[in-house]
Symmetry: C2
Subunit: 243 residues, 2 copies
């Protein structure tokens, strides 16, 4: 007899549906657990509420299609990067914002700010758009086995975006920058902040502001990259070289 | 008076439309050059035919909407990576194959093989799908200012994919692998070959085959990544650390 296997995905639980050592999955997640993954009472599963803790559970009951789990163990920080990683992205079109979220969440971004850059040519994202991106982030979180939902925002300018940052090591993607190295001792414990220009790049005032704000220019490739490719590439590099 | 500026994009020319020091753009590219970018006779533009040479041209005539350029200078290898980079990708769904091509071409992949892995659960890509991916590669080539169209193929198995490889430094994305370093002297001149599993990962036989075929496992992040995120991440890393 094979012991019941933990399903190969995480399940989302609303924060207010966790009470003491019990949690209750909402309708769609219950359906997914009970019908798609056919988990039966007594079998294990793992849930996250996006707040930074994973709940290893045993299914206690499945009455009327509602999954109730007993929390066997809490795993704080499961799948989270060891330091916060903030990604500042010059606001592109809607499609590319979704691409960035889909790839940046599995690669460990803890905050993404799609700031309206001078050359973005558009207003910051409306709440409904951010809500949609948050749903994409939630799916990516489950898929990649992280437990803390990244902060998503859309500042009205680079200056405002920089104003809400804490300290940390700062890098901007720039074809004219230096190549990243490990010899230089780029690995460290401080938070990492990464900036990528909008389609059409930062304007001169933004570039000057980034220099004054201690962003080191690093080169990814000599080729021209779209905003979304540059965002994923700098994050993959930072996650491996700077942390 | 400002001198005419080279449009900020490249134009595609069919290889057989380059004759001596003249080239002729096809209908849609002529339209783009003459109507969208409003390039007038005497002004410069750059064309590529995907064969590995960029042609810096001066527009010679625009009669009946057909752009004919005089080739002022040939730039072999413009925007190409210094060594060939082959990406072996366990065949995912159609959408993710397009995502891989969109991001991998600007990051310098010179060949991509979407091989049908044991767990791909699907046949290799049909010619019509490869043709569609080639169109995406062409657009990405123009956008990122490269001049050689990558080779796109879809082998029926990992074994067949490996059989068509030349020598080179070989790496496979594997959460259990070592972290990439520069101290270890990963940078080099030999071709780079990168492998990424299909959704559901390589099976045991494929993993053993990769080991026997000298693929070093390197870890990107501890998180589970989709095939497409892993492909873009390992390429961004390789382009910066191994070349």
């Amino acid at each position: 007899v094979r012991s019941p296997r933990n399903p190969d995905t995480l399940f989302w639980v609303e924060p207010d549906a966790v009470e003491g050592d019990r949690l209750t999955l909402a309708g769609d997640e219950s359906h997914h657990l009970l019908r798609v993954h056919r988990v039966a009472p007594g079998a294990p599963f793992t849930a996250i509420d996006g707040g930074g803790v994973a709940y290893e559970c045993v299914l206690e009951s499945a009455e009327r299609g509602v999954a109730v789990g007993r929390i066997a163990r809490r795993e704080p920080g499961m799948g989270e990067p060891p330091v916060p990683i903030t990604l500042l992205v010059g606001l592109p079109d809607a499609g590319p914002t979704e691409t960035v979220v889909e790839h940046a969440v599995p690669l460990g971004a803890t905050a993404i700010d799609f700031f309206a850059a001078a050359r973005s040519g558009r207003a910051p994202l409306a709440p409904a758009r951010l809500e949609r991106l948050l749903r994409i982030a939630r799916a990516a979180l489950k898929q990649s086995r992280r437990c803390r939902l990244p902060i998503l925002r859309s500042s009205p300018s680079l200056e405002v975006a920089l104003g809400s940052l804490e300290g940390g090591r700062r890098y901007v993607a720039d074809p004219a920058g230096r190549r990243p190295t490990l010899e230089g001792g780029d690995r460290g414990q401080a938070p990492v902040i990464l900036a990528v220009g909008p389609p059409g790049d930062f304007d001169d005032a933004e570039k000057a502001l980034l220099r004054r704000s201690d962003f080191s220019p690093i080169s990814l490739v000599e080729n021209r990259l779209t905003t979304e490719t540059a965002a994923v590439a700098i994050l993959a590099l930072a996650r491996n070289l700077f942390i």
